[in-house]
């Protein structure tokens, strides 16, 4: 590998600034009082406090899992502040009343907080540390009956909906980090698409961690009723700190009959410096339930940030003929680690799933695909196709594939294939012959490698993702 390739990976992180804003930060540590404090601050009903305490008590009995291929020093859960919010007035109706410092932060990040004509088409819920600071286009969405707000607001305004669905896809005791999240989650987005409504614009949440030593524990709940459809985007960044921050989110999707949910993520948390110091631990539980017949849930993720990414966006295919999809690009560089993949659990008849995973490792990083395809005995005629490709850039990195295939129905058809490759000297030579420089050639090859995933992203995101991958790899190839 020549230097041009090396240079392509080592692009500085552009979202690493800290916003100087007065924050209301809870003291570090976790106990039942912390949970009561969070619940109290949010003025939550008793059932939700009980939900949190139940989760906390289960969490206390659980052990931190060690089965993955990621390695990190043990997280001290008492050294984290579980609540951090910008000090400001109660939530406001107009964007103009939002703290200008915050507005400037998001301008800098390129996130539209103003409902400007040029940016029409995407409604944004903006989460800063532990709280939602603004949600755009709420009124316009309400006209067609869509509820799009922060989950704290939903708890106040639509408690019956939240109560009906919260924890039904990811139960409080599901796993160690989901239990922790259920106990201490502070904010997140809530989205409800009523029967038969096609959401007129893309919905999106933008997550920003700003406070050092805080953890972000957001909770997202998306419900699509019969025949509804929605496309949802998630983006995230954090400042550069030389300590690690924990991000343990839970995302639950529920699709009823014929509903269609498309969930796209471009994850660009701070990944630590070139020596692996600092960065976010991104330990997230994401799961979708295709509850109704003919429902469809599609996950698309572009994972470029975080010191450690450890997540498996999954689909429970319960309804007959339901469809689960997972498209992923995971890029790791320097000392980043990623252990990501999906689970497709086929329960209903004629359920189908597709998994396309592209892993790119560079530097000293380690990138693993870990996936499960389970066909239960009742899933007559289930069908799965999986493809996992890895690309290695440099000889210090690693790429692993761990696909678990469990088939208990003989009418099912499951196919899995995986390959590993590198950018060949002959490929670069071919480009050079045609006058294309190494960096551009590498970027084109990588884009070609990831194309099937990028095609699944909404337009603006696809452009963003392509750019991001180029930036991330800048200087590492050649």
């Amino acid at each position: 590998m020549s230097t041009a390739l090396q240079n392509l990976v080592n692009q500085p992180y552009r979202h690493g600034f800290v916003t100087a804003i007065e924050s209301d930060v809870a003291p570090k540590g976790l106990n039942e009082d912390t949970i009561r404090m969070i619940s109290g601050k949010k003025n939550e009903p008793k059932w939700l406090l009980d939900f949190r305490l139940d989760a906390y008590r289960r969490w206390l009995k659980m052990e931190e899992p060690t089965w993955s291929s990621v390695k990190y020093p043990k997280v001290d859960f008492q050294a984290i502040s579980y609540y951090s919010a910008p000090k400001s007035k109660p939530k406001l109706d107009s964007m103009d009343q939002v703290d200008p410092e915050l507005l400037r932060t998001y301008e800098k990040l390129g996130v539209p907080m103003h409902e400007r004509a040029t940016l029409a088409g995407v409604a944004v819920d903006v989460i800063f540390d532990s709280v939602s600071v603004a949600t755009t286009y709420k009124a316009k969405l309400a006209e067609v009956g869509i509820i799009f707000c922060s989950i704290s607001e939903a708890v106040q305004l639509h408690p019956e909906l939240v109560r009906k669905y919260l924890g039904t896809v990811v139960p409080v005791g599901d796993n160690f980090f989901a239990a922790l999240n259920s106990a201490v989650f502070t904010d997140g987005s809530f989205c409800f698409i009523p029967k038969g409504v096609k959401c007129p614009m893309d919905l999106s949440t933008y997550f920003r961690i700003n406070t050092q030593d805080s953890g972000q524990f957001e909770r997202t709940l998306i419900i699509a009723e019969e025949g509804a459809s929605v496309s949802y985007l998630e983006g995230c960044t954090a400042p550069k700190f030389d300590t690690n921050q924990l991000h343990a989110a839970v995302v639950e999707l529920v699709a009823l009959d014929r509903a269609d949910i498309k969930y796209s993520t471009v994850q660009n948390w701070y990944a630590g410096d070139e020596n692996g110091v600092g960065g976010i631990y991104n330990f997230v539980t994401k799961r979708g339930l295709c509850k109704g017949v003919d429902s469809r849930i599609s996950w698309t993720q572009v994972e470029t940030g975080s010191a450690i990414t450890w997540k498996y966006p999954s689909c429970i295919l319960q309804g007959e003929n339901s469809i689960g999809e997972f498209y992923s690009v995971a890029l790791t560089n320097n000392h980043q680690q990623a252990d990501t993949g999906t689970k497709m659990v086929h329960i209903g008849r004629n359920t189908r799933s597709t998994i396309i995973s592209k892993g790119i490792s560079a530097g000293h990083s380690n990138n693993s695909y870990r996936g499960l395809v389970r066909i239960t005995p009742k899933a007559e005629g289930a069908r799965n196709y999986s493809q996992c490709d890895s690309m290695l850039i440099g000889d210090q990195c690693g790429a692993n594939t761990f696909p678990y295939i469990q088939v208990k129905n003989h009418s099912a058809t499951v196919e899995h294939e995986a390959s590993t490759s590198k950018i060949g000297e002959d490929q670069l030579f071919y480009f050079a012959q045609r006058g294309v420089g190494t960096e551009e050639a590498v970027s084109m090859i990588i884009n070609g490698f990831c194309k099937t995933v990028f095609q699944q992203l909404p337009m603006e995101f696809a452009v963003e993702a392509t750019k991001l991958l180029g930036l991330k790899l800048e200087g590492s190839v050649g």
């Binding site: 590998m1 060690t66 089965w67 993955s68 291929s69 066909i375 005995p377 890895s390 290695l392 850039i393 440099g394 000889d395 210090q396 990195c397 690693g398 790429a399 692993n400 594939t401 761990f402 696909p403 678990y404 295939i405 469990q406 088939v407 208990k408 129905n409 003989h410 009418s411 099912a412 058809t413 499951v414 196919e415 899995h416 294939e417 995986a418 390959s419 590993t420 490759s421 590198k422």
Partner: protein, 443 residues
């Protein structure tokens, strides 16, 4: 085992007393005249004491529940009184002029026949140790992972006999060597052992054949070690046709020298629960291995194959094809790990796991696995699980075959792809007959 596939740590199992009861028969073993062998056995006994019986909470045993094995009350197999009454004729392979027979793990010279071949040693351990103790000491117990695998440790603790094959430098052994392991006693645990040392530039074909003369439960715990020096070439065929109630756990460790070639075909037909661990380590440049496997099971059988191909050095090649044909309420398990170590550039590896489910209760767990730490490599794997292609069945039906005949033919053809790779014609024909008979009875 590599640290990568980090196992789910299970609680220690209450079956610890079980291991002690298995070891209880050991004091009857005579001490060997070779001090190093006594030491090796003593160390293995210590390891058995330190290890526990795996449960489904251990990642490596996640799909194979061996608790029925721990419920058996087993005795070490006793030396059978009369070998003469055993008819080995039906297991004989005409092409294999050299045959060593072990009855319940004990060498049966009356049933064996050794055709003299220039300098090639094919003998049981005590006989071979007289002239070749240095070579044996250098290899026996040095490849098998008895320090971490409780079953390999148990086998080593009981190590007193075994098949030893030493092929000297440059020797080409034309006729295959047949190692026949016969189980005759119910509720007995036997510990077959095999060591093959193929020296530089030598070539040999070895058949390990596990058969039974009765239908009750018993436990076969086999360990095989193979060492291939530079440019050596070994064909290794392994046929497991134990009784339907038997438990069969086997470990085979293969070490490959520079530019050596190893080809293995393993066929699992019998046993209620069988587990075969095959670990191949490429210790030098340019080693090649081809690993093929077929499990044909029905009723409530479980056949588990775990393989690991460790490309520790550059320029290695590996090919793997593993097939399971699962009928009845049987359960096929496959885990194939391919590791490319840092610096092991220019590895070319491909792996395929193909599984055929014949009945509604049959199920399969398969996990091909790649762990790659070098960039200039070509690695690919694939896995499929499915049923017979209905178009193919229709095609045959349109040519006048009954539905059952069409399905048998297709099932047979699926398995034949692996059996065809066996280089010993007689054995191939025997197995083809068995597969045809089994597919006919199972569909």
């Amino acid at each position: 085992m590599s640290a990568q596939g980090s196992p789910v740590r299970g609680a220690t199992t209450p079956a610890a007393g079980y291991l002690e009861s298995l070891l209880a028969g050991r004091p009857r073993l005579p001490a060997s005249s070779m001090a190093w062998l006594n030491e090796l056995r003593a160390e293995a006994v210590d390891r058995v004491g330190a290890l526990t019986v795996p449960t489904i909470r251990d990642e490596e045993w996640r799909f194979t529940d061996i608790s029925p094995l721990t419920k058996l009350s087993l005795q070490p197999a006793t030396a059978p009184v009369r070998h003469e009454s055993i008819d080995v004729g039906r297991f004989a392979l005409d092409e294999a002029t050299t045959r060593i027979v072990f009855v319940d793990g004990v060498h049966a010279p009356e049933l064996s026949r050794v055709a003299p071949d220039h300098g090639v040693v094919v003998a049981n351990l005590p006989a071979a140790a007289m002239a070749h103790t240095a070579t044996i000491e250098r290899h026996l117990g040095c490849h098998a992972a008895f320090r971490s695998d409780v079953f390999a440790a148990l086998n080593t603790a009981f190590l007193q006999d075994g098949a030893i094959i030493i092929v000297p430098r440059g020797a080409i052994v034309a006729a295959p060597v047949h190692l026949l392991f016969i189980a005759t006693q119910a509720d007995a645990a036997s510990y077959p052992r095999c060591l093959l040392v193929a020296e530089t530039g030598s070539k040999v074909t070895v058949i390990e054949d596990f058969v039974a003369l009765q239908h009750d439960a018993y436990f076969t715990n086999a360990v095989t070690e193979m060492s291939l020096a530079d440019d050596a070439c070994v064909e290794h065929i392994r046929v497991q046709r134990d009784s339907g109630q038997a438990f069969h756990i086997a470990n085979c460790t293969v070490s490959l020298g520079r530019a050596s070639r190893y080809h293995s075909v393993s066929v699992a037909l019998g046993a209620r629960i069988s587990r075969y661990n095959l670990n191949v380590l490429q210790t030098a440049d340019g080693a090649q291995c081809t690993i093929d496997g077929l499990a044909l099971i029905g009723e409530r059988q479980l056949a588990d194959t775990h393989t690991s191909i460790d490309h520790a050095q550059p320029h290695g090649v590996s090919r793997q094809l593993h097939k399971c044909i699962v009928g009845g309420a049987a359960h096929g398990v496959f885990n194939g790990k391919i590791i490319v170590r840092p610096g092991a550039q220019h590895i070319d590896s491909s792996q395929s796991s193909r599984n055929l489910l014949l009945t509604a209760q049959a199920h399969v767990d398969t996990k091909p696995q790649l762990e790659i730490f070098a960039d200039d490599v070509k690695c690919a794997h694939g896995a499929t699980v499915g049923q017979l292609d209905s178009d193919a069945v229709f095609y045959l039906a349109s040519r006048g075959l009954s539905d059952a005949a069409a399905r048998n033919l297709l099932t047979y053809a699926f398995g034949a792809e692996v059996i065809d790779r066996i280089p010993v014609a007689v054995l191939r024909q025997q197995l083809e007959a068995i597969v045809l008979e089994q597919t006919a009875s199972r569909s």
